[in-house]
């Protein structure tokens, strides 16, 4: 047929493929993986965007998501309850409507894993190296898990009767049910980690020598309550919050009266007050030197405490205790925002005072180890998480850092890389950090309007007297919805937009649906529409090489 076609005015279809328009280009697009702000903000070092991506699929995606999650954090069900989720504070979606409820999805995945009995990955081949971990709190468990996966033999020595550290002895059960904690610890131990509870390490040097350990990770936490001099305090019923919470866990509830005053402004103060409420105190009062805004406690816990009837007295200090009465001094903020005494006093009746003024680490075990530097009751470590004594690493609350579970888990994860490198005589390199996926890189148009889900709370009446868990998990539909609210900042999530919007058909799907895209640089003219229209900012333009 074609031989009858007229010359020049009639052409074969698709013959323009001979015209390579790629040479028009002065800039070329390339796919990038930017660092999502959630990942950037996660002290535990989770690849949150990656596990949300898997969770978005639902079904089998949950296990894939959980596996991605536990690659960095072996305690998702715990973290999904107790983490104060700096990831959500950093989340770009907050600038669109509300942050993605990352923490609630994490908990959903963690709970799914427990109920489904998903197991952690098989450890690598045994290396023969022995590591002693002192303390079974979050950093100790995290490092033990990561080292076990790398084939090292890990022994955890724990002074308390049960493992978990502050997760068990500092966080009340209504925030972290113990069956959840036990399940996640059990899963780590199943990897072959040896746990010795009730074993205090008094002399680290001796312990290391006796056990022929090649390295040690110290994670003793900060369990020693700070005290303040309160005139007359010894004569009154004054106890410290950390001892109170510890006692609760040990089955030895503290003796408290009806009118309880908690002194302090951190999360522990709230935990103490809320526990006192459950133990029968009528309306526990928190006294704090500064303002509500300056309180270090996290807003969600503060809100829950208020719901439960905890009361507050801001800008106040306890100047003295006298029998059943407290002498309270009113404070005021100076121009720098620091509280200053005013000399104005009033009296309050209280039969119990609980001090929640912070904790220090017990560093007695370090005696005799040269080179270890102690800074402000904490142990200094270098960027390899190693103390001044070779082979002794440290993390968690005993090193200078923010004291939270996620930080401790992150320490354990980082320390494990470093210890592994040290054991193999190949120092761990810093993990590469991609450019941050700022909100400006996002094209918010493409995201549906979707307010976040709210986790149901236990009825208030049951929060007066029981230690039942207050915050409930999301059901599956809600968790899936929440996962899908993720903007996937800086990381392609296969929305096909670049493939669809290129005026030059220069985006390819070499691997078919769902696989990564590629640019057909033979034809891409470098217009940059794909960059502007990528919802998640996973494409950038770079100058063409000349």
């Amino acid at each position: 047929m074609s031989d009858t076609r007229p010359f020049a005015i009639t052409l074969d279809v698709g013959s323009s493929l001979a015209n390579r328009t790629g040479d028009w280009r002065t800039e070329r697009p390339q796919y990038v993986r930017r660092l999502p702000p959630c990942n950037h903000g996660c002290p535990a070092g989770e690849d949150i965007q990656a596990w949300l991506y898997e969770a978005e699929s639902g079904g089998g995606g949950y296990e894939r998501a959980w596996r991605k999650l536990v690659a960095d954090n072996p305690l998702p069900a715990v973290m999904g309850r107790v983490c104060f989720h700096p990831c959500e504070t950093a989340c770009n979606r907050a600038q669109l409507d509300e942050a993605v409820g990352i923490n609630s999805v994490e908990r959903f995945l963690g709970d799914e894993a427990i109920s489904a009995g998903w197991e952690l990955p098989e450890p690598h081949a045994v290396t023969g190296k022995r590591v002693l971990v002192v303390g079974s709190g979050p950093s100790g468990l995290s490092v033990a898990y990561q080292l076990a996966l790398r084939g090292h033999h890990v022994t955890i020595r724990e002074q308390a009767p049960k493992p978990g550290g502050m997760m068990r002895y500092g966080i009340p059960a209504y925030r972290l049910p113990r069956d959840v904690l036990d399940a996640e610890i059990e899963r780590i131990l199943a990897l072959g980690v040896q746990l010795e509870c009730g074993e205090r390490v008094g002399d680290l040097r001796a312990a290391m020598r006796e056990g022929a350990y090649d390295a040690t990770f110290l994670a003793v936490g900060a369990h020693v309550a700070k005290h303040t001099e309160i005139p007359g305090g010894t004569a009154s019923h004054v106890l410290d919050a950390i001892a109170m919470l510890h006692g609760l866990e040990e089955g030895e509830p503290p003796q408290i009266g009806r009118t309880v005053v908690v002194y302090g402004g951190g999360d522990t103060a709230l935990d103490a007050a809320r526990s006192a409420k459950r133990l029968g105190a009528s309306a526990p009062l928190i006294i704090y030197r500064r303002t509500r805004e300056q309180m270090p406690a996290h807003a969600t816990e503060l809100a829950e405490a208020e719901q439960e009837g905890i009361t507050f007295r801001w800008l106040s200090t306890i100047a003295g205790v006298d029998g059943g009465e407290l002498k309270i001094e009113r404070m005021e903020l100076d121009e720098n925002g620091f509280p200053q005494p005013t000399g104005e006093y009033e009296r309050l009746s209280a039969d119990t005072v609980v001090l929640a003024l912070g904790q220090d680490a017990d560093l007695e075990l370090l005696g005799g180890l040269d080179g270890i530097e102690i800074v402000d009751h904490t142990v200094a470590v270098d960027e390899q998480m190693m103390t001044g004594y070779p082979g002794v690493f440290a993390g968690g609350d005993m090193v200078p850092a923010e004291r939270m579970v996620a930080v401790a888990i992150g320490h354990g994860r980082r320390a494990a890389r470093c210890i592994d490198g040290w054991l193999r005589d190949v120092p761990a390199r810093p993990e590469p950090q991609a450019e941050l996926a700022a909100f400006e890189e996002i094209n918010p148009w493409y995201y549906s309007d979707a307010p976040r889900t709210v986790r149901p709370l236990l009825e208030e009446i049951r929060r007066q007297s029981t230690f039942e868990e207050v915050v409930k998990g999301l059901d599956e539909a809600s968790a899936l919805y929440e996962a899908r609210r993720c903007l996937s900042c800086g990381n392609c999530f296969s929305c096909d937009n670049c493939f669809g919007v290129c005026p030059d058909n220069a985006v390819l799907k070499p691997g078919g649906a769902g696989a990564p895209y590629a640019f057909d640089l033979d034809y891409c003219k470098g217009c940059g529409i794909c960059v502007t229209e990528c919802p998640c900012g996973a494409i950038e333009m770079i100058p063409e090489e000349t």
Partner: protein
């Protein structure tokens, strides 16, 4: 999971999505899409028309099961796609003249009808010049006779192929090569405008729609819907032109979106001369946000600027917003003048 969730990460705004069922993805997400106009074409970087044409024809091809013939008016689309010896088209395609694409399409349709080829469908297409100006008589004739043709106007608001001159679709205050802001003039004059879609509706043809390249799914759905009717159908697609509008090549879709979100370009569909749906504004923007990104309006912002002209343009947008009910809380549009009253026909989708 037993019940499907109504919510997806990117809703219905992105082209596709790994989470969506195949049927819910845009035609453009399909690796097997027709690519009615394929790569190697000579459209400028960031050309909205090249994109629009592919989206429209790929959707039409899918709807027609690949049995489609296109008649194309002279213009950018024709020139950049068929310079001898190379054609970018992958469907049977004919270019005759600037003014006659609707009539050529009619001829194709008449031939197919005479031959009993009910399986093959016909699309006519052209730019705004070929459609609302020089080709308007042929377009109106095609509508009036009821010929079985889907005609698509790719509106880039001017004669871009000849070097950016004013057309009947050029907006007020826009600078073109023949409406320079000289001698106290502020670009193209404020006329009464010429809404080809409304005029199409006045013909009471089965289907009329407007769309932009900013929402490919909406555009595809309209093409698909149009293909479900027989008789004359008209789709008017706003396709920004980086060259003629003086916009960044990467912002073609963004600018089309702002045209819609500002209310300057109402997106709607009409059946039998009656508006049946409008695309609501999601995030309302002032016209200035749309205008500022285009050098053709730069004279409105130079020096002390022309707040008076901006105010008139905003008034145009406001009028559209009110008239078409473009905001979320608006009632369904009713005030389309006499067109509504005229719409009486019983024809429907086939």
């Amino acid at each position: 999971m037993s019940t499907p969730l109504p919510f997806y990460q990117t809703g219905t705004f992105a082209v596709g999505g790994r989470l969506l069922d195949e049927d819910d993805r845009a035609v453009q997400s399909d690796p097997e899409r027709s690519n009615a106009i394929t790569k190697g074409h000579r459209a400028c970087q960031g050309c909205g028309e090249a994109l629009g044409a592919r989206v429209v024809l790929d959707a039409a091809l899918r709807a027609a099961d690949g049995r489609l013939v296109a008649a194309n008016a002279t213009g950018c689309l024709e020139v950049f796609s068929t310079p001898y010896p190379e054609s970018s088209w992958r469907l049977p395609w004919i270019h005759s003249l600037f003014a006659n694409a609707p009539a050529v399409a009619t001829g194709v349709a008449a031939a197919l009808r005479a031959k009993g080829r009910t399986d093959i469908r016909v699309v006519g297409q052209g730019g705004d010049g070929g459609t609302v100006d020089i080709g308007f008589a042929c377009l109106s004739g095609m509508f009036e006779r009821g010929d079985d043709v889907l005609y698509v106007c790719y509106d880039n608001q001017g004669y871009m192929n000849t070097g950016v001159q004013r057309s009947g679709a050029t907006p007020p205050a826009a600078r073109t090569a023949t409406t320079e802001p000289l001698g106290g003039h502020s670009g193209n004059s404020f006329g009464q405008g010429k809404s080809a879609p409304l005029i199409a509706m006045a013909h009471e043809i089965p289907y009329v729609a407007t769309a932009t390249v900013a929402d490919l799914r909406d555009l595809e759905q309209k093409v698909t819907r149009a293909m479900s009717f027989h008789g004359p159908r008209y789709i008017h697609v706003l396709v920004p032109c980086p060259l003629g509008w003086g916009s960044a090549t990467g912002e073609t879709i963004l600018i089309a979106r702002l045209a819609k979100e500002s209310g300057l370009f109402p997106v709607f569909e009409a059946v039998e001369g009656r508006i049946t749906s409008v695309a609501r504004i999601r995030h309302k923007v002032a016209v200035e946000e749309y205008l500022r990104r285009q050098k053709r309006f730069a004279h409105l912002f130079a020096g002390d600027g022309r707040p008076d002209v901006l105010a008139r343009l905003q008034t145009l947008a406001n009028r559209n917003i009110e008239r078409y009910g473009l905001l979320d809380d608006a009632d369904e549009p009713t005030d389309i003048g006499l067109l509504d009253a005229l719409a009486t026909s019983e024809r429907g989708p086939v």
